[in-house]
Amino acid sequence: MNKHWTIVGLGLLVSGCYTGGDFDAAADASGGIETDGSDTQDDDSGGSSGGTDGTGEDPGELDCQMGPQVGEDSLVRLTLRQYDATVRDLVGVDASVARTSFSADVRLGESTDTRFTAGAPVSALVAKQLMLGAESIADQVDVSALTDCDGGDTCMDAFVLDFGRRGFRRPLSEAEAAVLRSIYDAEPSHDAGVRALVQAMLQSPAFLYLLLPDTQGAAPGEIVALDDWAVASRMSYFLWGTMPDAELFAAAQGGTLSSDEGIRAELARMLADPRAEAGIREFYDAVIELDFVETITKDATAYPEFSTELAGDLHESLWLGLRALHLEGDGTLASLIDAVPLYANARLSNYYGFSGANSETFEPVAELGGLLSHPGMAALLSKPGDTAIVERGLFVRGALLCSPLPPPPPGVEPELPEGGDWDTPRERLAQHREDPACAGCHNLIDPIGYAMENLDADGRTRALWPSGVPVDASGELLLGADAYAFEGLPGLESALSDQPQYEACMVNHWLTFATRRVPGELDACVVDGILAETSAQNGSLDALMEAIVLSDGFRLVQATE
């Protein structure tokens, strides 16, 4: 059987890097990428969990020739961002009510190492927040802009059907249309009736849940194709983070989203639309915590010139680079690692020594390297007053390789004592590897972190450690039985950029993001297929997007009881 980049549970691999702890239990709880049949599993650095995703799926060895297999969807509510964006596009109120006043989203999976989220389950409190939010939004609606109907029966019937279709992202049933009409009719005026429709819509499950797959008539376990309306909705929330627009609805209405050609056409149009920025931004907020970059603060003594404004600039710079990678060039999975366009303004240029940007306007200044080379990432993955070798290594392991390390075993002192006889962070961290309880994991973490030691905690390049000793940024990337020695960050980028495990990790991330479903073992063939399609196009990000929306994992659902 060929190697599967199977996602076990949550798309994560907890490496079994220490002994003595209940590793199996930890791994089962966290899941992991499993390369079944590969030669990388029987070593001491890349153990697989062997667990299931908690859904009871245990398909044994999947045969991808046996027809489509996809995992189960679940009831997923709009995230706060999606809610706000959908309200904006549905009723024209751009008030960020959800992000301001609703309870936080919840993680999609139990232990996912990224922050992919879904709306919190509707408890009494959440229901009340939805109620109050809907009231606030309804009060702000411009009724005349929402509908030119003045209350006549015929035009109101038409409005109810249209408004309901847009809000539910599918045609209404007769029963739903009747309920909506009765809500309107119960109010004393046309204005109040329309506002009531908005209020009721925003609290209704068909609006609040991303996908309510209609699998009536299908046997449990049967694989069912999503209808065009559901495909449209899934594409829209994946790529734009909001409801479909009129053209996408028209495509669904016309039945063109059942074909590859129809989906490709809409994909191209949607990626060319400015709304595509929202999807990309949300993805990177989840995977690399992009939104945290603007909140970075540094020790005022060690980095007196690092300011709030500079952190904001770093955030904008990194975002512009990622945006360009996806929307303006021929970005690839590899180029995320080794060639993210660098944007800067005068403030960033002055601080970091970039050349070519002399105003407040951001402009491309150079191709510094990949994601890890960006000063914003270096600063984010640092302590306020010092670099953070371990945290940097953990980030690469977790977010880029889907192979997070377990927490330290019980009884192990996680922090090295201050002081000691060492001149460099490398010497200090070497203590980790002298202790057998620490060595297993830190052999996997620390050498990756060394690669970034030429970037200080504020992201500036440095040649010397504070002790005056030249920075030694050499290390090795251990992946299963393989070791990839590198020199500095360019070397790590080179080692990472074409790693199948990195590529599979990103496919898993994107598929999770696209479907809001944590892939299970049954999705192994889907992941393999997306990976193969993307690799055939040299890892093109555009090809990745296309492979995802054309994949069985995106277009099919498993019927449940």
Partner: protein, 420 residues
């Protein structure tokens, strides 16, 4: 800083708002019996390098309430793993799969109050791994309200219409409209239900139940008493990122005020007050108005740096001061049984580790504040370190008067000697 203020009293006149959905005190005051409440107070990043010394200082701050304080030393957190996130997510859940013990109690209390749990956050909204301590069930955190004005709108809105016929009429119209909207939403859910596989209908059903809960709340009648004081609507909180520290003080003060009123009004009997999250990097303002202190979590890992330790102590002092404010608010309100609301409210302070730098949780320091009518307060107690923290949760469940086969997965007995 916004200070606690009681502006209005909703006395007998409040109860005469016929047909209006007063939230407070639905069952609290029958026969003059006062309810017992539970409040989980979470503050992040542990207690510095010497939790014993930190608690000695806390007890000094809370000295006025020494006879209403139970200081328990000992026990360990069996799930502690040397980090922040896992202890954060398990310290109330125990070795069960959820819910957390506070939510077990809330569930056991049922619909005794209009809000089964009032969970309030102070800039705690991003959640994520290590972002929650209270759980309704596995991976389902108890939802929190993050802004005082939202807490007020959720809990107290409408109660301030007393004595104003126009406002009462508007309120009546609002609740009528809400009723129609809730009916409409429930009808839409029902109309959608057939499309949804039965496996997922439980989620929809929970949604509809939540709507019905609001309905129940609207139709409940209040028996408000002098205990219940309706706070004024707080000012809007300026927009800010989740880890924006500039309004932390104000949000904290507002949420503490809302919580104290909600407990006094018997809106809820289980509260959670979560300040930020584990590994919090919130920066606090200097007491003297100078520059902001350094980031909390970073400070907690500078055990040998004197200035950092001084700043860390200032942060711990800030939390102690807020705790004192809450206790003062509850103790200044006379409950229906003649004692104070504090005497009927068990406040338990939790954090995800004891020693901040080492992340240890092998020998605990725990403060249980208030609840003197059900607990033997006013004493320091030392219990074995090898006993699990869950034993304390069992004790508190017993004190709350709920019978549960296990608490946080723990089936053993609690510290019965601590019960009044």
């Amino acid at each position: 800083m916004q200070r606690r203020h009681f502006l209005r009293r909703l006395g007998a006149a409040g109860a005469t708002l016929a047909g209006l959905p007063l939230l407070a005190g639905r069952a609290a005051h029958a026969g003059g019996a006062a309810p017992t409440r539970l409040l989980v107070w979470y503050q992040p990043n542990g207690y510095g390098e010497d939790p014993g010394a930190v608690h000695a200082r806390t007890l000094q701050t809370l000295d006025a309430y020494r006879n209403k304080t139970l200081y328990v030393r000992g026990m360990h957190l069996p799930t502690a793993d040397g980090g922040h996130e896992v202890p954060m997510e398990t310290m109330l859940v125990g070795e069960s799969s959820g819910p957390s013990f506070d939510q077990q109690i809330a569930e056991a209390l049922g619909d005794a109050t209009s809000v089964s749990t009032l969970a309030l956050g102070v800039r705690s909204e991003p959640g994520g791994h290590g972002g929650h301590c209270s759980f309704l069930s596995g991976n389902n955190p108890t939802p929190r309200i993050e802004r005082p004005e939202d807490t007020w709108a959720t809990v107290f809105a409408g109660l301030d219409a007393e004595g104003d016929p126009e406002a009462q009429a508007e309120l009546q119209a609002l609740w009528d409209r809400r009723g129609r909207m809730l009916d409409g939403s429930a009808a839409l859910a029902e109309a959608t239900r057939d499309r949804v596989p039965s496996k997922h209908r439980a989620g929809l059903d929970a949604h509809v139940e939540a709507l019905e809960d609001i309905r129940d709340e609207m139709t409940s009648t209040a028996d408000t008493s002098e205990t219940c004081v309706v706070p004024a609507a707080p000012a809007d909180t300026p927009q800010g990122a989740w880890n924006d520290h500039s309004n932390f003080d104000e949000i904290a003060a507002g949420q503490i005020e809302m919580m104290s009123h909600a407990l006094a009004c018997d809106v809820t009997r289980v509260g959670v007050l979560q300040f930020h999250r584990s590994t919090s990097q919130i920066q606090f303002g200097q007491v003297d108005g100078g520059d902001y202190l350094d980031q909390h979590h970073a400070l907690s890992h500078m055990p040998t740096e004197t200035e950092a330790q001084d700043q860390l102590q200032q942060i711990l002092d800030w939390y102690d001061a807020r705790l004192l404010e809450l206790m003062t608010a509850l103790d200044s309100t006379i409950d229906v049984d003649g004692s104070t609301v504090l005497d009927n409210t068990i406040i338990v302070r939790v954090t995800e580790c004891m020693e901040s730098n080492g992340h240890t949780f092998s020998s605990g320091h725990h403060l249980v504040l208030g609840g003197g009518n059900v607990l033997q307060t006013g004493q320091d107690v030392v219990v074995p370190d090898d006993e699990p923290l869950w034993k304390l949760w069992r004790t508190l469940a017993d004190a709350m008067g709920v019978e549960l086969p296990s608490v946080a997965g723990y089936e053993g007995a609690g510290y019965e000697d601590l019960l009044a």
